[in-house]
Symmetry: C2
Amino acid sequence: MNTFVTGWGITKFGELWDQDLRSLAVKAGIEAIKSSGLDPEKIDAIYVANMNSSLFTNQEHLGALIASELQIFKPAFRVEGACASGSLAINAGFNAIMSGLYKNVLVIGVEKMTDLDAIQATQALSAAADEEWEGFYGVTFPSLYAMMARFHMRRFKTKREDLALISVKNHKNAMLNPIAQFQKQISVEDVLNATMVSDPLGLLDCSPLSDGAAAVMLSSEKINDHSVELVASEIGTGTIALHDRADIASIYSAKIASKEVYRKLNITPKLIDIAEVHDCFSIAELVAYEDLGFSLQGKAVNDLRNGRFNKDGELPVNVSGGLKACGHPVGATGIKQAIEICMQLSGTAGARQVKKRLHRGLTHNVGGSGATTVINLFSN
Amino acid sequence: MNTFVTGWGITKFGELWDQDLRSLAVKAGIEAIKSSGLDPEKIDAIYVANMNSSLFTNQEHLGALIASELQIFKPAFRVEGACASGSLAINAGFNAIMSGLYKNVLVIGVEKMTDLDAIQATQALSAAADEEWEGFYGVTFPSLYAMMARFHMRRFKTKREDLALISVKNHKNAMLNPIAQFQKQISVEDVLNATMVSDPLGLLDCSPLSDGAAAVMLSSEKINDHSVELVASEIGTGTIALHDRADIASIYSAKIASKEVYRKLNITPKLIDIAEVHDCFSIAELVAYEDLGFSLQGKAVNDLRNGRFNKDGELPVNVSGGLKACGHPVGATGIKQAIEICMQLSGTAGARQVKKRLHRGLTHNVGGSGATTVINLFSN
């Protein structure tokens, strides 16, 4: 059995005041169906990824809601794993196809976040942490990642200037991405001088609140020329609360999920040509380089400074602009990552197309502060 | 491939002020593991069913939360399909085992609803309806089902007294269920004289707000004497909004899902020996008799009056006490239904054990006003 991404669709990411949850999801879904060329009758199931439409828009039951709106009355599920929901839904679809259960599965990720103000939205997002041991005491996501950043800084002498390079790179990449929330170049000085959110993370170290949707069609056959194979999908699970971890300079779930992908395919990180990683905060991307084995622990800063992860570097990371500049409509993010990799591997990324030859691309999608990580690996 | 329910665990259902979301889930989970006799190391994945812990307790990311608390660091998902979440998670686990992907899957359903007051909780539940076309205009679940009841009454001359028989039966059954929220006999007069909630549904036509958790272990092998086989699991999807349906005296998704189960197993409804159905409101159980083919449409009232669905009747329905009297902690309900059927089929239901010989048992779990229905069929 094989699984191919045979179609994809994505909306603009940003503050989309004139579009609601369902219209975004339906727009991406229809675009993915059209892009695959598949007769909608042949869709066997719909998996919807969403983190918290309940608090954002008082709407649950998204599987049926979106199936109903698309008039595709097939089994419909909502899958939730906080910020990793998108890749988790791809994992569920992948497993359903690999098992022979379904032949074509539509996976749609959506989040409509800007109907709440920033404080309410920050609270809604904190539902991804441990409410009783973290959220209840006022810990927010910027502060959880700030603790990880402080720890990394103390241990490896990482500087705010190093983290800033990540935001600068991702903003630069997003300049070429028409769906990106921010198509605006920023400098290291901008990052360092931005309003402090949770020391050492300033406003430009943080991904934004976004509305948006992304969808992929997963099929058991390569039904068109742009189809890209999804060759592995692995989930790592770690402790939900930060205080239960032996080490907060890395994310255990990301390490084990990526190792399992490499083991199953009998490859090493050196064979990854391009990646989209979960830069909810600048520190998260730095940690990802190390967790994924792209750099040795404590050494990623050197690779970053040398431009290894730039669009024209040895291993381009977050060519889409990442969560930082492309935006982070939570449920859609993992699927947006998959779409970027599929566009790059199928040579359809247009102005954003990476010049070097690409064979394997990886997505790294983290839930909460790392209790869940899903690694999906694509190949052309 | 086969799938067996090899263990189960369930907490008390009710207003459990001294127990939180995670302690309930963990309690049911550990009991299910112990009941299966399985080494926890052999659990391959955890599926958590929950409708709306986001609004009820500001906690999402339940897959990782509960995996973390159980110290079982395996792939963990939350599956949501409103009030059908429990059976939907069983469906996901069933498919994972039938495909050979996993050998043992722990499925835990939980809902902690009583930390909100009744008005807030009613609003949280309305997230299962179409927020923009129903909830926003003030429609609540009692009123959606009240419209279905009115329609059924007009078309088939169904009376409030008929619906009351269902609540009376389920309360009687719950007298023997130690985990039931209400172990209290009620009369038809009690039901008719109860506070009106949404005409024609009074307070005793409605299932309560409940806290509780239930868990099952699904395994690819029959590892103990009480194992019961899960032979089919089908999902039906219909429109989310009531106004989009041609007929509101029945639930389309329940009809197609049950027909598909009967077709796959080449059986008729006559071969079902016992069932747990989704009586979120008394009318819902009446409609279920008809949708499942237990009675002809418009004729279920006769069967009900004749005692056919009583514990000692030809086809006992809701021996657990149903959602009405056993309680309805939303995410746990579908799993509680499965447990009741497994206890009955394995002859371990104690005082509640149905006397006649049982071979096949069915669960009918409805999401929202019927956009999702999951039918699971068990056999000994």
